[in-house]
Amino acid sequence: MSYREIAKSQEPRAKSQGARVFYILLFALCSMLFASAVDARVKGKCKDCHSMHYSYEGKEMTYGGRHGPFPALTQGGCIGCHGQAPNGTKSIITNGKTRIPQVLHYPVNDNLAGGNFYYVADEYNPDYSKGHNIKGISRQENPPMDVPPGFMNSILIPGGTGPAYWPGQQQLACAGTWGCHGNRTIEDPGSSIHGAHHADDSIIDGSTAGKSYRFLYGITGKEHKDWEYMATVNNHNGYKGSIDHAAMDTISYLCGECHAKFHPSPNLGGSKEVGHAYNSIWRRHPSDISFASVHGGFAGSEYQGYVTYSLEAPVAFSNPTGAEDIVNSDSVIMCLSCHRAHAGRHPDILRWDYSKITAGAGKSGTGCLACHTRKGHE
């Protein structure tokens, strides 16, 4: 075969190779484009998070003084991974290929969305009014705060019914019936969240713990990939809200599962404990209502002044994308508009110091005044 013939014979191949390169590049670009939506499962070495036995070279394995065995032979359980460097300041730790959000560390300005258990952790200088007293981090609070404020028996929760009774000696856990994460119809924290870290969570529909917003079973939303580290007004967590008070997938419903009397859903506190939803007397600060539903209507109200999404006083949306930078009449007030989920630097886990918010003197756009825009001085 001559050189020409060889070249000729290779011509179609060159063409097909060109096409192949094109498709490979196209695939790579598409992969990059949709990567964040495709798969956020934990990746990396099994050994980075698990041990094969609760022993190593014949000795018991402890993590930060915590003794196991730990669920799924994880290295120290929830806190072992998510509070693995309590004396450090990192809010995200990379272990192998896995980035792990830290919920217990020395406070810095980059605390994640849920807050930081530092403020209630016994190993520091805890103030129990500043957060949830999770077993393994804090001791249980004294009565009456040993039971979740506003607790109601046997309310409807995703997957079943909440506990009929909260025993006084029952401390709050990270997950399970007595916690927030995982399937709360399952008592054991480890079992309640079993498999969630490895589940395909590209679609957050609340159908399983793994497919729920932050493994809060039944709750939906859009997860900021860095847990709001360096979040911006158009790149943040997307919280699910609903104004019909029938939805069980809102972030406020999750709070209401334990603090039922604080939530207007008929499944929870309803009108009796909370107040009527629309244009009526509220006994508690409203949640899961939109600005459109405020007394007197949205038009001409001070709430029109809350225009740009505030990371300090976030709002929920009926179909959150995490990219909303505009707040309007359909934006929904939620528990997390004012509170952190885990713990924070202010009493009542508030996002701001309530004692320093002053009507007529405070700066509009901050704290309560983010929504109540006319109560400030500017």
């Binding site: 050994k47 094969m52 065995p69």
Partner: protein, 338 residues
């Protein structure tokens, strides 16, 4: 009539052959030329005299001499007998089911396997003490003596009768005894001569005629849960499913527990030599099917009995098993959803 008789005789004659052929089992009693094994090197035996019985010299390395090889072959022929090789001086091509002491004997380190005397020196970390040893779980009336090294057999070893301290005595005669059925009643009739002790039943199982050499999903050893009980003799704190808390089996990766028949485990349905299971009841011949809810996780699901290229004598490199990626090996054979 005569024809019928002949046919019946022929069938009766052929039956045992068929049974042997399809059971995957061969007669394992050692036969053939005595000198092939008993005179491997000059002076191996001391000649009997009128006042002194016939004895062996260097009996502490007798096992190793027969079951080692200077090539990479893991089955060698001695006197017409196939001999499984558990220690190759050079890297074995097809390590047998128990693994190969090559990895712990060389410079790979103590963590690659059991530090058997005669192959490698005593473990520098444990100093001869089995991790997780719990005397109350060791049925041996002698018990493990950490002052002496780990041996192939005897009370400080795995094979033979662990009520007997001397390794040679512990396994004495097993190679020439009737070894079927493998019911754990004697050393010879215990799976791979793992008798344990007189007061407990030995390990039972189905012995592949080639010790899993180049085995497949349908040709391999079959394990029963008795092998976990056996491991427990020296690593008691790692097993014992009757105990709760820190002594319970869930304190460690569970063993002796049926593989769940739901969730990610249900996808493990074809027997994989890299993560074998034990059978609720031993089949008549090896099976390539894994039955969720019945077949159980065993110590040997993850570990090689002798030694492997990986730490903790694991069947795979735990440091390189990744979740959420493309791999399907190692841990992921059972944990398919990861």
């Amino acid at each position: 009539m005569q024809k019928k008789k002949r046919l019946i005789i022929n069938i009766l004659f052929l039956c045992p052959l068929f049974i042997i052929l399809y059971s995957g089992i061969c007669i394992a009693e050692v036969g053939g030329d005595c000198d092939s094994c008993h005179a491997l090197y000059p002076g191996m035996t001391e000649k009997p005299s009128l006042v002194k019985p016939f004895t062996y010299v260097n009996r502490e390395v007798f096992c190793i001499n027969c079951h080692s090889h200077n090539t990479s072959d893991t089955i060698k022929i001695i006197g017409g007998n196939k001999v499984p090789v558990v220690f190759n001086n050079i890297k074995p091509v097809y390590p047998l089911a128990g693994g190969n002491f090559h990895y712990v004997a060389k410079d790979f380190g103590d963590r690659k396997g059991h530090n058997v005397s005669g192959i490698t020196s005593i473990d520098s970390k444990f100093r001869g003490y089995p991790p997780g040893y719990n005397r109350s779980f060791d049925p041996s009336n002698k018990g493990y003596n950490p002052g002496k090294p780990l041996a192939c057999a005897g009370s400080n070893g795995c094979h033979g009768n662990r009520d007997i301290e001397d390794p040679f005595e512990a396994i004495y005669g097993a190679h020439h005894a009737v070894d079927k059925p493998v019911d754990g009643s004697t050393t010879a009739r215990s799976y791979r001569y793992l008798k344990n002790t007189d007061r407990v039943k030995g390990v039972t199982g189905l012995e592949d005629s080639e010790w899993n050499w180049n085995g497949t999903s349908s040709r391999h050893n079959e394990y029963s849960s008795s092998v976990d009980v056996f491991c427990e003799s020296c690593h008691g704190d790692f097993h014992n499913k009757n105990k709760k808390g820190k002594n319970g089996s869930w304190f460690r990766h569970p063993t002796g527990m049926p593989l769940p028949d739901k969730g990610e485990y249900a996808a493990y349905s074809i027997y994989n030599l890299d993560a074998p299971v034990s059978r609720e009841s031993l089949p008549l011949k090896p099976s390539d099917v894994v039955m969720g809810g019945k077949d159980a996780v065993t110590c040997l699901s993850c570990h090689a009995a002798h030694s492997s290229p990986y730490d903790s004598a694991l069947r795979w490199d735990y440091d390189n098993i990744f979740t959420g990626e493309e791999g399907k090996s190692g841990c992921l054979i059972c944990h398919t959803g990861k």
